[in-house]
Every structure is written in C-alpha cells, then in structure tokens.
C-alpha cells in the first residue's frame, strides 16, 4: 500500500475535507477543516481540487514515513518542517522520496497544521465526505502505524509557494466581523454596545466552538431550540460568548447576537487561548461581497496569486509573481 505511515500521530490528527453538507436535518454535523483557508491553499499549491482530503494536525508533533514518491505542502500554524532531515518552508510544495521522513515540530503560533499530498489522500468517506467527525462518531483520530493512502506522482511539477503577504500572522489579536442574527434586536441595547466595544479573551476552543470571556452580554432572552449557523455567537445566561464552528451541534437553545463571517471563524480556529478578540458588525452586502471574494480565491485553480519557483542545484529562483 502506497502512502504515508504515521510514526508519531501528535495530539490529534484528523483527515478532513471541506465538510459534510446536507444531513443537518438528521442531526449530522458539518465538521470539515477548521481553518479552511490553510487547508484549501495547501490543496491549491499542489493543484488539487480545493475539497481534497487533507490531514488536520492539532499543535504539530507529527512524524510520517513516506512509502511513496510524491509532493506535499504544509500550511497553517507556524512550525518546523523537515523532510529527510532537511529544514523546509511551509506554504510551499516539496518533493518527498520513498523512505524519507516528514517531521513536523510543535506549533509556535497558530494551532492547526494542514498537510496535503499531490492528488489528495484516499480516505474512507461517509455520507459524501471524508471528514472525520468525532461528534458523529464518523472515523477516528489517526494513530501510530496508520497509513494515509496516496498515489505516486508521475511527473514533478515546478515547486510553488504562496507570496508571504498571503500567509497569516497568527499572533495578532483578532477582530471578528459579525452579521447580526435573528435575536440581535432582542438583546438590551447596552449589552450589544458592550459586546461590540469591549475586548474579549479566548478561554478555550475545539473543533466544535470557542468560549470567550469578558464583560457579560446580559440578557433574559429565552428561545426555543433552533438550527445553528456556522459562526453563530451564542450568549448563554452568564453572558460569556461562545462562537460555534464546523463540528457544532445542529440545533440549540441559546440566543445569538449573530454569526461571525466564515473566513473570520477560520482565523479564530487558529487562535491560542488568551488571544484578545473584538467584534464588529458587518452589513449583509459587505459580508456577502467579502465572502464571495474569498471563495473565488480559494476555489480558483489558476496560477494567479501563487509564486512559481524553479530549483537549480538547490537554489530556489522565484521566476515570476504572476499578479
């Protein structure tokens, strides 16, 4: 079996694609890569379909042995990467030879790394998606000795990298853009004012959602359980916001001030506990425009916004920035 063998599996390594859609009415969560920006760009660098399965590695600390000749790209959190013992850059494609080890160090900033392989991993699928969903008991975290299947590469394309300005800085405090939701008008005006003017701190987070702490967003609203959009900002009785991500429950009964834009949720999924977070409102038209622009960028298969590189005797020459 050709593929990559896990020698060290790290804290939690999951195969994820874009997510599982269309089964929310059966209580099935969407799951999917928590930081779709990094996951989609790992695929784009390798000319994969944007929804090809990648490995989502929580906090790094993973080692893989190649039983295949291929090309990989590692994106997401900042960490050390070595291939065959040689330090290599993230956000760039690399050749991997059979017998070489891919060593991924611990994340220095950001939380999740995305490893993609040329052609994508061949992973089991459930209900149309390869995304592992711990909530739904679909799949499981990878363990030492597991093998991620992939095909040998027939020809070796030019290495490609992402221009540095497109690589996120995970250390920055975040401002999350919120589209006001169904109950937004029912919150007391002072509470909303506080929510949008004060600073919050990320307490803890996982693939389901992130808990924040800060000045309480007080309310006495009671609602019936209703479906929960991606990015929904729920306010429980204690007034401390919870932002729900891909592996959230499908319905829930806490009132919501609104929903964080998807691309801002991806950034939140990379934020370490303690990160400062502010919220600002965004109008529907502006939210729509920004989201469509991001989707076009991630889905675009052309060379634009990637940097072609030619390697001559280990010297990397960046020949053109096609922009």
């Amino acid at each position: 079996m050709r593929g990559l063998e896990l020698l060290r599996s790290g804290l939690m390594s999951l195969v994820e694609d874009r997510g599982r859609f269309g089964f929310g009415d059966l209580g099935i969560t969407q799951a999917g890569a928590a930081d779709r920006y990094s996951a989609a760009l790992a695929n784009r660098l390798l000319r994969n379909a944007p929804e090809a399965p990648v490995l989502e590695i929580a906090q790094g600390g993973v080692e893989l042995l190649a039983h295949v000749e291929t090309e990989i790209a590692l994106t997401g959190a900042e960490a050390e990467l070595r291939i065959g013992g040689v330090p290599r850059a993230l956000w760039r494609t690399h050749r991997v030879r059979e017998g070489e080890c891919i060593e991924i160090g611990m994340a220095r900033s950001g939380l999740r790394l995305y490893l993609a392989v040329a052609g994508g991993f061949e992973a089991p699928r459930w209900l149309g998606s390869a995304s592992v969903s711990l909530r739904d008991r679909l799949g499981r975290p990878l363990e030492k000795g597991d093998r991620l299947l992939c095909r040998d590469l027939e020809s070796l394309p030019h290495p490609r990298s992402l221009p540095p300005r497109l690589i996120p800085d995970w250390r920055r405090p975040l401002t999350l853009r919120v589209l006001p939701g169904a109950q937004a008008d029912h919150f007391p005006a002072e509470s909303l004012q506080r929510f949008y003017s004060e600073s919050y701190r990320l307490v803890s987070g996982d693939r389901m959602g992130c808990r924040l702490a800060g000045p309480a967003v007080e309310h006495d609203l009671e609602i019936l359980s209703e479906p929960i959009p991606y990015g929904a900002v729920q306010i429980p009785r204690d007034g401390q916001p919870i932002v729900l991500l891909g592996e959230r429950q499908t319905i829930g009964g806490y009132p919501k001030v609104g929903a964080v834009l998807p691309m801002d949720c991806w950034r939140l999924a990379q934020a370490a506990p303690g990160t400062g977070i502010r919220f600002e409102t965004i109008g529907l038209e502006e939210a729509r425009r920004a989201t469509m622009e991001m989707e076009r960028f991630l889905g675009d298969r052309s060379e634009i916004l990637l940097r072609k590189e030619i390697v001559i005797e280990n010297q990397v020459l960046q020949i053109d920035e096609t922009e």
Binding site: I28, L179, G181, E226, P227, T250
Partner: protein, 225 residues
C-alpha cells in the same frame, strides 16, 4: 412566516415561538416540500420546533432572491395538508434492567410500572426535529400523566438504544452518550448507521409508535444489556 438573514449564507424562517403541534406541522410540511423540490444551490434544510434554517450557495442565491422564491413556494402549500410522515414502529423492552428510571417515574406520578409503559406506548409521537446526536429525534407529546423533568445530574453514560423521557418529550439515544433524560427501556433496532439506507431511522415529521417487547424478544432481535 418571517424570513431573516442569520448568516452570510443562511436564512432562518420563523413560523412561531412555541412548541405547538400546529406550528410544527407548518414547519414540517414546508420542510418536506423543500426536500421534494430539491432546489439547486441549497446546502442544508434543517427544521426545528418553530423554525426552518436554510444554508445556500452564495453563487446561486442571495437572501432576497431566496426569500422571494420561498414565499412563492409557501403560498402554493395547501393550507391543511394531511400528515404525510412515515409511521415508524420501534420495539422497546421496558424493564428495570433496560430502563433504570422506570420505577422512579412511576412513583413520582403515583402510578405502577405497567401504567407508565401503557401510557408511553399507546401514543403516536411526532418527530419535531433531529439533533444533539446523529439520528436523535425529539418527539412529542408525552402524556402529561408521565411527564417528568430531566435528572438533576446527567448520567455520564446512557447506553445506545435507550428510550427516554424529558418533560413532554421523548427520544431514543442512537449512540452511547452522556445524557440527563429519564430512561424507560431500550430498543434493539439501529437508529443511526452511516451504512444504512437513509442513514437515520427517524426523520423530521415521522410518526413513531413504541411497541413493548419482552426480554426474550429483545435479545432475539440483537438487544444487549
């Protein structure tokens, strides 16, 4: 029916603000109609008690165009459509072994265990919504004579197949999970299986009847303790 933008690619349709069979009937008949129509560019259609959520493809719809389309569809729905939900029968072994709260529920209401079983199994329930776990169907309404609040402290481990009660609602746990509902018995049938046709035994709008079975029948059907 109100139609609100609640996410950049999401609309929430609101039909009311109560758990009410009539409001739920309207939500579920609209849900079924949208599932049949299978409009292009619709990513999710999720019903709850009084709301219906749609996630859509931004490159296919915007909130306004989708709301407009939904209103046209709503206007063409018959005012009082007959219930078209499937009737699903679920065999249940009600016992102390499989339903650790059975006796407590009986004593709270001054009933004996047989009466609790009879009151729970003689009704037809409606699946209002599915959530919490894959295939976990929130059903109502339970006979008020056995309606019992959730446990003060949830159990760390509720066995798969447990048939449970909380206030006026009942449900079956499709998977082992933590849970605070009162456990009356257990079914040997699969509620959720990614290999199964339709994946989930119960879907929103279904009608459900619980049929009591004895210990022998429970084991014969693959039930476990």
């Amino acid at each position: 029916m109100s139609c609100k933008a609640v996410a950049v690619d999401g609309l929430l349709l609101e039909f009311g603000e109560r758990i009410d069979p009539e409001i739920s009937r309207r939500v579920l008949s609209f849900y079924r109609r949208l599932k049949e129509l299978a409009l292009p560019g619709i990513v999710e259609i999720i019903p709850s008690y009084a709301t219906l959520y749609l996630q859509f493809d931004l490159f296919h719809w915007d909130h306004e165009s989708l709301c407009r389309r939904l209103r046209v569809i709503a206007d063409s729905l018959p005012e009082s459509e007959n219930d078209k939900g499937r009737l699903v029968e679920i065999p249940v072994h009600y016992s102390r072994e499989t339903g650790p709260d059975l006796e407590r529920v009986a004593s709270i209401h001054g009933l004996n265990v047989e009466e609790v079983i009879r009151l729970h199994s003689q009704r037809e329930y409606r699946v209002y919504t599915v959530g919490f776990l894959p295939g976990f169907a929130y059903m109502g309404s339970v006979d008020e004579r056995i309606a019992t609040p959730r446990l003060g402290t949830p159990r760390a481990r509720v066995p798969k197949g447990s048939v449970a009660l909380a206030n006026l609602q009942c449900a079956v746990y499709p998977l082992e999970s933590p849970g605070g509902w009162n456990l009356l018995g257990r079914t040997p049938v699969e509620l959720f299986d990614p290999e199964m046709e339709g994946f989930s035994l119960l879907r929103p709008g279904d009608l459900v009847r619980f049929r009591p079975i004895d210990r022998e029948a429970y084991f014969a059907a693959g039930g476990e303790l």
